[in-house]
């Protein structure tokens, strides 16, 4: 229901509007006939919270009472209301005033009822949108503000405060902390806002809230009216409910998190009995969702914070040991532990030792004897009391005096001083003992207590875990660091190897052995030659001397030697070879004579571990002679399927296990190195293939791609002994699907079916697809069966069947740089054939040859593109700097001359009026006609049947098609259109120059005496032509501008004259007026004054300053009227030929006279030396609704050099002036006409001007 107030002093009309609205629109209207009542009604309505939505106000509310003012007043009382003003018929001004004063629309009376209803509906809709916008804005503001808050309560506060902005009087946000509370109906007050909201709301419990049941069932907001609320409110026990009795509607917005009700937002209008509209309800549902989101977000935030707090407490409880285990260094940690224990007992003899199982040694992380710490102590684990501790599970607790007996009994050898008492606890993690914690007492010391033992046991538990964590963390850190290095190395290796191949292996071995790498003690690399018959010692790192090695490690550790430092040393050649490196080169082993293990590694590409005992038998004798390995790993150096060599590593010096993880890492490293190595080899091979096939490639530059590919196929077939060789290039650019370039397929060999059959099926079939995916396809015998043959359905392939192919090799032609597929090479055999490794390699090398050929062509394409780009850049640059056509053409042509060697260029401009091409003036600097026959030829008219020149043909074609056209004549002599301007020319290319709107602007012509224009040339020239077209177009605009500015300068000058003249005219008229006013009794004086006034008026209305416009005048008569007088004055004879009788033009006769006057004066000057001066003046109507005036003299004509410019710039052969023709052009153009100078070779006269003016003839009256 929409509330409408109608304010109109015409009660009857108002009632009618009310009826219309109430019957047809969902509206309730009140009528007022005066403003006072209206204000009262509106104020009451507004105060009660149910303001009128729409005011309909009549513009006139009685004499002098303005409806718009009334509207302003009413809207001030009820700012949310909108108004429509009824205005009188056609009173748009009031309507606009109403609109500017804030009315939604106005409606002119009388109006159709439907019109009114439409407008009201439109306004309702508009209000709805406005409301939505404003609410959405508040919603957004709420979200934004809420997400900035940190505390749950603050968010709740934001929510309720924003709720009030929606127009509600009060907002209460209840919170349901748990599911149980949902079920019991308990609600907690969280936040509230608004006047008269429930006191002490926040934190209060509201049990058994009456609306809970309904809310729990509804995901959408529910709306309870006053009655509903009171009815339910009776039974409510809620403590705050008695304060909660809104008069209007209450919106209950349930807040859900997934399936759980987390809260309720209660919105109401307090004491006003406002009802929500359907639209507002919909919007509130949206609001509920958004509130849910922010509240949910806030509650999660709150619970997370709680958990953090808990964790803090836990952390405080847990001993420092555990917290620091992963981060602090172990000795420091242990020292800390010792200090802690020290608070309870004597810890002057305290030790923690860790067991190194491999070498069965105890390393003392902390050893404190008589209060003094000792560092770096290691003892065999099999000695001392500790050994006993390690063997048995529990601790050992020997009281003072017990040690001696125990030692003797168990045959334990105690190192150092014999303690009196001894307390030892094993450090255990999981089931394993990782070390021991011991405490000693010497004679005289205080004895241990049982409590001490218990304490130590629990400390040991803590410590064991801590040490374990510390270890793991250490390992983790170490590992991460190594991984980082390895990963980096894989990347760096390639460029290192490119620079110096031997560096590749140095890096690999260093990473295998260095502290910062994998930390193997020693490494030896052997590589095979191509045929895998021999293993050669490549290089190695390490030494047989343990002390040397340890010294090196220590030194590296001390100076924090890392990978970067190593790399820079390597670059600087500062690496000193180890004994292994020096000795490695001595190794050369024949594989056949090798022990089985080595051959297995090479063959299978899988590593082997050779235990120390087997080293003698399983490593080749040659190696054993130079190196003495302990337990070692033999790893293959792989590159794809090939094995390039072997790497032997051991840990002879520190006796560390060759653990799987490190070996895996090493293998990865070797694999990358192998790949790097292979890549290098490959590229070296392709280089050699290129060299070997230099002749093929040498020709490639001079022949087409197809010829080159044919050539490759021929060579390939010859070498591979295949029956048929074919290379299908792939068209560039296809990313999702490949397309074959059918025009450049290269092939060789005789086919039974015609060659074109290979082109007939361009679809990329199964075989091709296979090659594209896998890189190759080798089939030895099509009939031999096999999964691949049946999968690819080879036997049914049309080509294979028809040609009887029995064996084939397909190789992918791949771009050597980008890896992009460029094509496919097939070698087909009509007999089954087993392919040797070498044959496959050959095929591949031909493929790479083809790759080079194809990519080279593509590369050339690219160069062409670049060249084009450059040309574009240059021309653009020139265009940017210059405005004048001549300058642009001169500069562009000059640049083009540089780009196109041995080429003559010229630009011809199209003259639409003459329908001819003319040399662009600037062109003549670059282009000279050498044939004397055409020496002075400037104009090339279009439409000539023969010998109209090639440029004209292009121009004609362009005029027909309105597209850029070009004609390329490789041999001009064979072309009948060719106009031999220069005898040397052999080939010619002409291309049309077009403006942006598709108009022909001219032609660019290029001539060559030696070579012809290729496709690349044409593309390039097209680019130039496009640029030139734009340049010319722009230059022409510029010329026009220049003309206009010249004219305007002149006009400005003339306006000065005008000013002075008008000034005087003004005075004359003022004075004559006064004379007439003061001498009204004397008619004669009045008459004189009137005549003076008339002259003055005339004076100011002639001349260029005059604003007087023209009118219809008969052309011939007007000319005749003045020309005789003008000619007579100068003694010129006029030869008239007036054929435009009855033609009218629209002009100011003074101006027409002025034009003729100027032309006569010009002619007079041109004929000053002639004894007899004549001019020819003719008029004739044209078919296009214009009339042409031809004005010719018999003088010497206009000089070619200024011809083009006479109407553009101030040009004159005379000493002064030169603006005359410009002014004439201006006058004629103002009449809508044109003026131009006719070409000199068209007439027998001197200068001939053609003026064309639109006629202004009335339609013939029919009576």
């Amino acid at each position: 229901m929409c509330r409408v107030l109608i304010l109109d002093d015409d009660a009857y009309g108002a009632e009618e509007v009310k009826m219309t609205l109430e019957l047809n629109s969902n509206a309730k209207a009140d009528v007022c006939v005066n403003l006072k009542d209206a204000i009262a009604l509106v104020t009451t309505a507004s105060d009660s919270g149910k303001p009128y939505e729409i005011f309909l106000i009549d513009l006139i509310l009685g004499p002098g009472k303005d409806g718009i003012e009334a509207m302003k007043i009413l809207r001030r009382a009820s700012p949310d209301s909108d108004a429509i003003i009824f205005t009188g018929f056609g009173d748009m001004e009031s309507g606009l005033r109403a609109y500017h004063a804030g009315a939604f629309r106005y409606l002119s009376k009388p109006f159709d009822n439907q019109e009114l209803l439409y407008l009201v509906e439109a306004l309702k809709e508009w209000r709805k949108i406005q409301r939505e916008h404003s609410w959405q804005k508040i919603f957004g503001g709420m979200m934004e503000a809420a997400l900035k808050q940190k505390s749950f309560h603050a968010v709740a506060k934001v929510v309720v405060n924003h709720s009030l902005k929606l127009g509600f009087e009060r907002a209460h946000l209840f919170w349901v902390p748990t599911r149980e509370e949902v079920n019991t109906g308990n609600l907690f007050g969280e936040a509230c806002a608004g006047k008269d909201s429930i006191p002490n709301f926040s934190g209060s419990l509201f049990p058994d809230w009456y609306g809970m049941e309904r809310v729990r069932k509804s995901r959408n907001a529910i709306f309870i009216n006053k009655d509903g609320l009171n009815e339910r409110g009776q039974g409510s026990k809620g403590s705050g409910s008695k304060n909660f009795s809104p008069q209007g509607e209450t919106a209950v917005l349930p807040l859900w998190r997934g399936e759980i009700l987390i809260g309720i937002l209660l919105l109401d209008y307090g004491r006003s009995d406002k009802i929500l509209s359907e639209h507002e309800r919909t919007l509130l549902n949206l609001f509920a969702r958004q509130v849910s989101v922010v509240m949910d977000h806030a509650s999660i935030y709150a619970s997370e914070k709680w958990a953090l707090k808990e964790a803090d407490i836990i952390r405080n409880i847990v001993h420092d040991v555990t917290t620091q285990a992963a981060v602090a260094s172990l000795p420091k940690l242990l020292e800390e532990v010792r200090n802690q224990i020290g608070q309870l007992m004597d810890v002057s003899n305290f030790a923690v030792a860790l067991l190194d199982e491999e070498i069965n040694e105890l390393t003392f992380c902390l050893l404190c004897e008589q209060g003094k710490p000792k560092e770096g102590v290691r003892r065999p684990a099999s000695q001392g009391l500790e050994s006993f501790l390690l063997k048995q599970q529990g601790g050992l607790f020997l009281k003072n005096g017990d040690v001696k007996e125990f030692v003797e009994k168990n045959h334990i050898r105690v190192q150092g001083r014999m303690p009196a008492g001894w307390l030892g606890v094993p450090l255990r993690v999981g089931g394993a003992t990782i070390g021991v914690l011991t405490l000693q007492r010497f004679a005289g010391d205080k004895d241990f207590s049982e409590r001490d033992r218990q304490l130590l046991v629990s400390v040991a538990d803590q410590l064991a875990a801590a040490i374990h964590i510390s270890h793991l963390a250490e390992v983790e850190r170490e590992d991460a660091r190594r991984m980082q290095n390895l990963q980096r190395a894989s990347v760096d290796m390639l460029w290192l190897a490119r620079e110096n191949e031997s560096h590749l292996w140095d890096v690999v071995l260093t990473l295998a052995t260095a502290n910062f790498g994998l930390g193997f003690n020693r490494a030896l690399l052997l590589t095979t030659n191509d045929n895998q018959r021999f293993l050669y010692g490549e290089t190695g790192i390490g030494s047989d001397s343990r002390s040397d090695s340890e010294r090196d490690w220590k030194r590296d550790e001390k100076r924090h030697y890392d990978f970067d430092a190593y790399l820079s040393d390597l670059q600087a050649n500062k690496i000193i070879p180890t004994p292994f490196a020096r000795r490695a080169s001595k190794i050369k082993i024949e594989l056949d004579g090798c022990p089985e293990v080595m051959r297995q590694v090479i063959k299978n590409g899988a590593r082997e571990i050779i235990s120390e005992s087997d080293v003698h038998t399983k490593l080749p004798r040659d190696i054993n002679r130079h190196f003495s390995f302990s337990t070692c790993a033999v790893l293959p150096v792989r590159a794809g399927k090939n094995t390039l060599g072997l790497l032997i590593v051991d840990n002879k010096h520190n006796r560390k296990n060759l653990d799987e993880k490190s070996l895996d890492r090493l293998q990865t490293l070797l694999d990358s190195a192998g790949l790097v190595r292979e890549t290098l080899t490959q590229s070296r091979n392709s280089v050699s293939v290129l060299e070997a096939n230099y002749d093929i490639m040498g020709e490639a530059g001079n022949q087409s791609l197809k010829d080159t590919l044919d050539h490759i196929c021929k060579t390939a077939r010859a070498i591979s002994e295949s029956d048929w060789a074919v290379i299908f290039p792939i068209l560039p650019g296809g990313t999702e699907r490949y397309k074959l370039d059918l025009n450049t397929i290269g092939h060789d060999g005789a086919l039974k079916s015609p060659v074109r059959s290979i082109k007939s099926n361009p679809r990329i079939g199964g075989i091709t697809q296979h090659v594209l995916e896998k890189g190759e396809l080798i089939v030895s015998d099509i009939d031999g069966g096999g999964s691949m043959i049946s999968r690819l359905n080879l036997t049914n392939s049309h080509f294979i069947r028809s040609e009887g192919v029995k064996a084939l090799i397909g190789v992918l032609v791949r771009d050597p740089y980008s890896e992009e597929p460029l094509g496919i090479l097939y070698l087909d055999y009509r007999r089954p054939r087993e392919f040797s490794e070498l044959e496959v390699r050959h095929a591949k090398s031909f493929a790479s040859l083809a790759a080079v050929a194809i990519s080279k062509v593509r590369h050339l394409d690219e160069i062409g593109q670049r060249k084009r780009l450059r040309v574009t850049l240059i021309t653009t640059e020139i265009m940017g700097k210059e405005l004048g056509l001549d300058e642009i053409l001169a500069k562009v042509l000059q640049k083009m001359q540089g780009l196109f060697k041995h080429t003559e260029l010229c630009v011809l401009l199209y003259d639409g009026d003459d329908h001819a091409l003319k040399f662009a003036p600037a062109t003549l600097k670059f282009y000279h006609i050498k044939n004397p026959e055409f020496k002075n030829r400037q104009i090339f008219p279009l439409g000539q049947p023969e010998r109209g020149s090639i440029a004209c043909k292009v121009a004609e074609k362009t005029l027909r098609t309105r597209k850029v056209e070009h004609i390329n004549i490789p041999d001009v002599l064979s072309d009948r259109d060719y106009l031999p301007l220069n005898p040397k020319t052999r080939s010619e290319l002409c291309i049309s120059l077009m403006g942006s709107t598709g108009d022909l602007l001219g032609v660019l012509a290029l001539e060559r005496s030696a070579s012809v224009f290729g496709k690349d040339d044409i593309d390039l020239i097209k680019t130039v032509a496009r640029q030139l077209g734009l340049a010319i177009e722009r230059a022409q605009h510029t010329e026009r501008l220049r003309f206009l500015s010249t004219v305007s300068a002149m006009t400005a000058w003339s306006s000065d004259i005008a000013h002075d003249m008008n000034n005087e005219v003004g005075k004359i008229r003022g004075l004559t007026y006064l004379i007439r006013e003061f001498s009204s009794e004397n008619p004669k004086i009045c008459d004189y004054a009137a005549q003076i006034d008339e002259s003055a008026r005339l004076l100011s209305s002639v001349g260029p300053w005059s604003v007087q416009t023209g009118h219809r005048i008969p052309l011939d008569d007007s000319i005749k009227q003045c020309i005789k007088r003008l000619a007579n004055q100068r003694g010129i004879q006029v030869i008239p030929q007036f054929e435009a009788s009855g033609v009218y033009i629209h002009a100011n006769p003074m101006e027409l006279q002025r034009i003729l006057k100027h032309l006569v004066r010009n002619a007079d000057k041109a004929m000053s030396r002639l004894p007899e001066k004549k001019i020819k003046l003719s008029t004739h109507p044209l078919r296009d609704g214009r009339v042409e005036i031809l004005f010719g003299d018999y003088g010497s004509g206009v000089d070619e050099t200024v011809r083009a410019d006479i109407f553009r710039r101030a040009t004159s052969t005379k000493e002064s002036g030169g603006y005359g023709l410009l002014l004439i052009r201006q006058l004629i153009e103002a009449m809508g006409g044109t003026i131009k100078l006719l070409p000199s070779d068209e007439t027998d006269l001197g200068a001939v001007f053609s003026i064309r003016i639109p006629t202004a003839n009335m339609p013939t009256p029919t009576e």
């Binding site: 009472k65 007043i73 003249m1061 003004g1066 005075k1067 003055a1096």
Partner: protein, 548 residues
């Protein structure tokens, strides 16, 4: 013929042209057509300067301006066009030999000319254009009837400098003509006391005239006439602080404003029927009605401004009042010669209460030295205040709604200022006129006695005088409203404001004609400064108790 229009002198047309002959022709034409030509003389920039001087000197209404006044051949010379703004409010018609539409458009739209005419045009077209414009701006040309004419004379006597020749008094009628461009008849009804003959008045020379104006048959509007710069200032203050910043319906709406040479006018429209000024309302109505009216004004109409109160600590109230009033009130105070108090109080009262000379106290304790300025009491509250809320600037309509006018001093000020102003205005108008001296004394003691802004003891049994009781009750209402609106509790701020107002008033009163009023004001000031100086002591001092 009825009405005054015919008696007015002809319209003055300023003629500015660098061509002497043109000037003399225009002069001749203008006087022929019944105007008074005024000629700008000199050449080049001197001509421009003289034009400005002459325009003002003769209060020209119209001007014929040549476009190029310095150099006729200089295209960039549009000195004539630039002059248009400088000779306003004269309406300029541009006359030029450059008869182009472009110049015409530029003159009118960019430079503010009212019309354009080509020099070569028929003189009759100049005549037509002059006439058209004259009709717009001049009451005389329009034959606008304004009655009663004695009000016009009163306005002239109020607003114009006595030295201004009477012929330029036509500006008053012209202001009305321009404020009511379509009116045929105007009836004026004065609202405030212009040239009041009563002993009470707001100031020795009222600065403005407020009228109720009936235009033809339309609803009346309020028109305020004042000196030109005051109108300018008021309009800008209105737009800054009043327009759309007051609450509710009972707020003035600026309809139109006009600024002429000496004076200007503002038209304010309102809803309902404004009957009287608050001064008259106060005298006629009961305390209840007064309370309702003031409550509506402070807690509703003006309330938006109090909601945006700014707190500033350690600020001198003295400085604050100087900011609003300007420095001259303090200068006046410094030069003030206190009249002999003994004579004023009679019965040696002055001596008995041992009150200080308030003006000296003001100088010594606030103005003299910033460091010893005692008017820094607590946190000062700043708000947008009316600045001059005396009982003539509040108008009351038939439904007891208060309407406020005169916004010349509206702006940031002491939040309590308007309450103090209206309270003080009541005291000085009514109480100071009361012949009952003991009543006045008791009133002073009572209003100085409160320690909390909103609390004032009104039930003094010795105050038998009904008028003073009404005043005291009204004051207590004002004080309550003040605290309620501003939340300032410490009454010292209020009393300081009252004190400053007393001094301001005492130093402005004509000592010859309003002697008693001046002395009573000084006495109030004296009591106030005694109270402020002995703040923590019991009030009133014991020795004052048995005073009359």
């Amino acid at each position: 013929m009825p009405g005054t229009a015919r008696l007015l002198p002809p319209i003055r047309v300023l003629i500015i042209d660098n061509d002497k002959q043109s000037v003399s022709i225009f002069e001749e034409l203008a006087s022929h057509w019944g105007y008074t030509p005024v000629i700008a003389e000199g050449e080049g920039i001197h001509l421009l300067a003289d034009a400005k001087v002459k325009a003002r000197e003769h209060r020209c209404q119209l001007a014929l301006v040549d476009m190029r006044l310095v150099d006729d051949s200089d295209e960039s010379d549009i000195s004539g066009l630039d002059l248009i703004a400088q000779i306003k409010p004269a309406s300029s018609i541009v006359v030029s030999g450059y008869g182009s539409a472009q110049v015409a458009v530029q003159s009118i739209h960019e430079k503010g000319a009212v019309d354009f005419v080509g020099k070569e045009e028929d003189p009759l077209s100049i005549k037509a254009k002059l006439q058209k414009e004259a009709l717009k701006i001049s009451a005389k040309e329009r034959r606008l009837k304004i009655s009663p004419t004695n009000v016009l004379d009163m306005i002239a006597a109020t607003l114009f400098e006595p030295a201004l020749p009477a012929e330029y008094h036509d500006q008053i009628a012209d202001v009305f003509a321009q404020l009511f461009p379509e009116a045929h008849r105007l009836r004026l009804e004065k609202m405030n006391n212009i040239l009041a003959t009563d002993e009470v008045s707001t100031a020795p020379r009222p600065r403005s005239v407020v009228l109720k104006v009936y235009e033809d048959d339309l609803q009346p509007v309020i028109v305020k006439l004042a000196r030109r710069h005051k109108v300018e200032k008021e309009v800008s203050r209105f737009l800054e602080y009043i327009d759309r910043r007051l609450v509710g319906n009972f707020i003035p709406v600026l309809g139109k404003h006009v600024e002429l040479w000496d004076i200007g006018g503002i038209k304010l429209s309102y809803v309902g029927n404004i009957e009287q000024t608050f001064a008259r309302f106060f005298q006629a109505q009961s305390v209840d009605k007064i309370q309702a009216c003031l409550e509506k004004f402070f807690t509703y109409t003006w309330s938006a401004h109090y909601k945006k109160i700014k707190k500033k600590s350690n600020i001198s109230l003295f400085d604050l009042y100087c900011d609003v009033w300007g420095e001259d009130w303090y200068e006046r105070a410094q030069n003030f010669q206190s009249p002999d108090p003994e004579k004023a109080m009679g019965k040696n009262l002055w001596g008995r209460i041992r009150a200080a000379d308030p003006v000296e106290w003001l100088i010594k304790n606030t103005g003299k030295d910033k460091k010893s300025d005692v008017s820094r009491v607590g946190t000062a509250y700043l708000a947008v205040t009316h600045g001059d809320l005396h009982a003539d600037n509040l108008l009351v309509d038939d439904s007891q709604n208060a309407w406020v006018i005169d916004f010349e001093r509206t702006g940031m000020g002491h939040a309590l200022q308007d309450f103090i102003e209206i309270e003080f205005d009541i005291i000085s108008r009514v109480a100071c006129a009361n012949e009952n001296f003991p009543s006045f004394y008791r009133l002073c003691v009572a209003i100085a006695g409160s320690s909390r802004t909103g609390e004032i003891i009104t039930d003094d049994p010795q105050l038998a005088d009904a008028e003073t009781q009404k005043i005291l009750k009204t004051i207590s209402i004002i004080r309550l409203l003040a605290e309620q609106c501003t939340h300032i509790e410490d009454s010292r701020q209020y009393l300081f404001g009252l004190f400053f107002n007393s001094i301001f008033r005492a130093t402005i009163i004509n000592a010859e004609t309003h002697k008693r009023s001046q002395q009573r004001t000084l006495m109030l000031a004296s009591i106030l400064c005694h109270r402020l100086e002995h703040w923590d002591e019991p009030w009133p001092p014991d020795e004052w108790r048995d005073l009359p």
